[in-house]
Assembly symmetry: C2
DNA sequence: ACCTGAACACCGTTCAAGT
DNA sequence: ACCTGAACACCGTTCAAGT
């Protein structure tokens, strides 16, 4: 078979696609995940309908902007599992994800909202990542380093929540690492507690 | 002096004020803190300009809807301080606040956003509450029950963050108490930790 | 096959005109 | 003193008309 299984897109379409993503990244970096789609089309110099043709929903656009990063975070999780002891692997990955959280304002909201919406384009790539990272949690739990009543979603929600906090006010942004530390400490099993 | 220090408002103004609040509560309960102001005016049967005359900003409206609750939460904190031992008083109050968090969708966002905005009408009443509740934290810390590197804002941010999580998805809403428990556990001083 | 922009139904905010 | 709604500048989304 040749390199085109589906029909090759027209040249102008390919160029528009690329141009949209380029501009969208810039605008979303400025205005956050709720950025004006109209503004993106305007700045990209294309018709509004063209934007919608390439990305029928906002999530579709976000997925294209974030997909690679989700994949990389999944790969990082897989790598950490083999190179690091359970506890280190988990905390390291969580720090990585916390950093990811800062690339766009509103990112944590976007991710969390689409968590249980299987129709969202963000669902699949995010789920894959969460499943890979979930193994790090299981490992840490089996090693007795994390409470057993913490689910993967619990933990994921908490990291995103700390990211959300950091978005709310400058002074809180400065405390992000500290807050993440506090939260993660709470996940350790109670040693000598009632 | 008589009962009117400032001039008494006209009857129609008083009625509109009350009607707005009544309808606003209903609409915000339905749509969350980002509810359409136009919709509120429409449903209240008043002109949009009238809504703006009574509440020049959305925060002003929210403050009027939430002010009493903030005051009550402050009073609860003051009461708990005298009736309960430090640790109980703190966790009890936090549970109370966590419950408050559920009255309107988007409430945690609204509160957190205006935390460092002294111009917001939500600022004052919320600050007063936080200061009273802050004493519960201090007491718990002095009794050695809570890590000393936790500030009042840290803790307030974390409770709101758990409220935010619960807003994001139904399954997470069911875990809200569990998540709050996890987070609060993380605030206890490390007994025998490295 | 793809692009375009007008059209529609919404917002928030302001302000001249009314009573 | 207070109310009203039109006016303005924005949205997101759709779709007939173009090439």
């Amino acid at each position: 078979m040749t390199e085109k299984q589906t029909r090759a897109p027209r040249l102008d379409a390919r160029r528009n696609h690329a141009r949209i993503l380029e501009v969208a990244h810039a605008v979303v970096a400025e205005q956050g995940t709720q950025a004006s789609l109209r503004d993106i089309a305007r700045r990209a110099g294309i018709g509004l309908g063209t934007l919608y043709r390439h990305f029928p929903t906002r999530d579709e656009l976000l997925e294209t902007l974030l997909g690679e990063r989700f994949d990389r975070l999944a790969a990082t999780a897989a790598a950490l599992e083999t190179t690091h002891p359970p506890a280190d692997a988990l905390t390291e990955w969580l720090a990585e994800y916390a950093a990811f959280t800062t690339v766009y304002r509103g990112l944590t909201s976007s991710v969390m909202t689409t968590l249980e919406d299987e129709n969202s384009s963000l669902h699949a790539s995010c789920l894959a990542m969460r499943q890979t990272a979930g193994r790090l949690l299981s490992n840490a739990q089996q090693a007795g380093l994390v409470r057993s009543d913490v689910t993967g979603i619990d933990l994921f929600a908490l990291v995103n929540a700390v990211g959300w906090i950091a978005e709310q006010a400058p002074s809180l942004s400065a405390r992000r690492d500290h807050l993440l530390g506090l939260v993660l400490d709470g996940l350790r099993p109670a040693a000598g507690r009632p």
